[in-house]
């Protein structure tokens, strides 16, 4: 059994110098159609700081491990947690996400199929997606009460995206099914547009060149459920988003989001830090071979 921690240490030591310059989008909620490069591992951390009118504000955070299994398949594991001010901190669940690219070339619109399994508590506040009749007051409940309900959900998204003249436009309709009995399908959407600040590039590696910054905007919200579809009692957000892709392989994201109606949080301040490691799959394979 001691082999596995040793293997983990070996892999991470060997990857320490194998960073990849990322070209990450600034989106935090919306997905474009680009998958992780095969064999690469991206380690990501995100935070959401939210205000709450009828309760305490919160800081929710999550860690993602994103791996390019194939050029047409990316798989990702999340674990998330939250701290509610004046209440407490708790782990709120985990998610396993897969994205599949069905078409082998670029087209006018590029679809990617997204399937995710979630096992999360009602206390989850990362707002990675907004769906159904999710409203601000849902999250005013104390952690002690909200942690008691554990949801098992399957989430499906169709990621539609296009990049033209440097602009990326992405639209993601979503449907979620809570696997607990008698739960309705819930619907939502996310969309975004973004562009690098410069389309050309300088010949030298640089941290502050304009081409390293991608700016954009996101709009996301709920569309009700299969029993009451529509905008009644739903929340919606408009967010600015910026990504800074450093030559060292790090990406920093920042996104202030604003609620668009009285059922939405007034402010969702998000930021994230990620790092891409080249050739993770190859390293795992080598270590695996050595151990056998």
């Amino acid at each position: 059994m001691a082999r596995f921690p040793i293997a983990g240490i070996l892999i991470f030591c060997s990857l320490a110098g194998a960073a990849s310059h990322a070209q990450e989008s600034p989106y935090i909620v919306t997905y474009d159609h680009y998958l992780e490069e095969p064999g690469n591992l991206e380690l990501e951390y995100f935070s959401t700081l939210g205000t709450e009118r009828s309760g305490n504000g919160f800081h929710a955070y999550w860690v993602e491990l994103e791996y390019g299994a194939k050029a047409w398949w990316t798989t990702e594991f999340y674990t998330d947690a939250q701290s509610t001010f004046g209440d407490g901190t708790l782990l709120t669940g985990w998610r396993w996400e897969n994205r599949f690219r069905p078409l082998k070339r670029e087209h006018f619109i590029n679809p990617v199929v997204y399937v995710e399994y979630e096992q999360i508590q009602e206390a989850d506040k990362i707002l990675k997606e907004v769906e159904g009749h999710d409203v601000e007051s849902d999250q005013a409940e104390s952690n002690a009460l909200a942690r008691g309900t554990l949801d098992h959900e399957l989430e499906f998204k169709l990621l539609l995206s296009k990049t033209f003249r440097g602009w990326n436009v992405a639209v993601n309709p979503l449907a979620t099914k809570n696997l607990l009995p008698n739960k309705a399908w819930e619907f939502g959407y996310a969309m975004g547009a973004s562009r690098p600040l410069r389309l050309g590039a300088s010949p030298e590696a640089c941290n502050f060149c304009r081409e390293n910054f991608i700016a954009g905007v996101e709009l996301y919200g709920g569309l009700g459920d299969s029993e009451s579809f529509g905008l009644h009692a739903t929340s919606h957000y408009l967010a600015a988003a910026v990504a800074w892709n450093l030559p060292s392989g790090w990406t920093v994201r920042f996104s202030p989001g604003f609620g668009l109606n009285s059922d939405s949080h007034r402010l969702l301040l998000r930021w994230g830090l990620s790092h891409e490691f080249n050739g993770f799959g190859e390293q795992v394979s080598r270590v695996w071979e050595k151990l056998r």
């Binding site: 990849s20 310059h21 070209q23 989008s25 474009d32 680009y34 998958l35 490069e37 095969p38 064999g39 791996y67 390019g68 299994a69 194939k70 050029a71 047409w72 398949w73 798989t75 594991f77 396993w96 690219r101 082998k104 070339r105 670029e106 399994y117 096992q119 098992h152 990049t163 003249r165 440097g166 990326n168 690098p196 389309l199 050309g200 590039a201 300088s202 010949p203 030298e204 590696a205 081409e211 030559p247 080249n278 050739g279 799959g281 190859e282 795992v284 394979s285 695996w288």
Partner: protein
């Protein structure tokens, strides 16, 4: 935790592990001669005939060299010599391919064979990459390609 949930957890863990192994094994077996450059022959005529707009830009090759190091060298090798994961770019097929054909393959990738689409790199940068790739000479003709070398 119920039996059903435990099963689902183990199933998820198993599938994730298989994704790692499938991905990494496929990359390691890629050296077994399955690179045949046929994608360059499948480029649509209109795309093949496109001229490189950065042809007259003296900085294009240097920009392309930097971008190659950032995005391509990981699989194609620091000097484009190829690796287990991706074919050599220092071959006649690439040397003789039109800039438009290289741009098209770069944009669309060869997804089923492991090359991702690179349309997320802005168009002027992709053309600079093409400028640099066109300086790579087949290994039999020259040991050090013009403009090549670790970026």
């Amino acid at each position: 935790m119920s039996k059903g949930r435990m099963l689902l957890l183990w199933f998820s863990a198993g599938l994730s592990l298989s994704a790692f192994l499938v991905g990494s094994r496929a990359q390691n077996s890629a050296a077994g001669g399955r690179f045949d450059y046929s994608e360059l022959r499948n480029v649509p005529e209109k795309a093949r005939l496109r001229a490189n707009p950065t042809d007259r830009d003296p900085r294009a090759v240097r920009v392309g060299k930097k971008l190659f190091g950032q995005h391509c060298a990981e699989c194609h090798g620091e000097m484009g010599e190829g690796s287990k994961k991706a074919p050599s770019l220092r071959v006649e097929e690439v040397e003789q391919a039109s800039p438009g054909a290289l741009f098209w393959v770069l944009t669309n990738g060869v997804v089923r064979r492991g090359m991702p689409v690179w349309s997320k790199i802005p168009e002027p940068q992709r053309w600079s990459l093409v400028s640099y790739i066109k300086t790579l000479k087949p290994a039999t003709d020259a040991t050090t390609p013009t403009g090549a070398g670790p970026p």
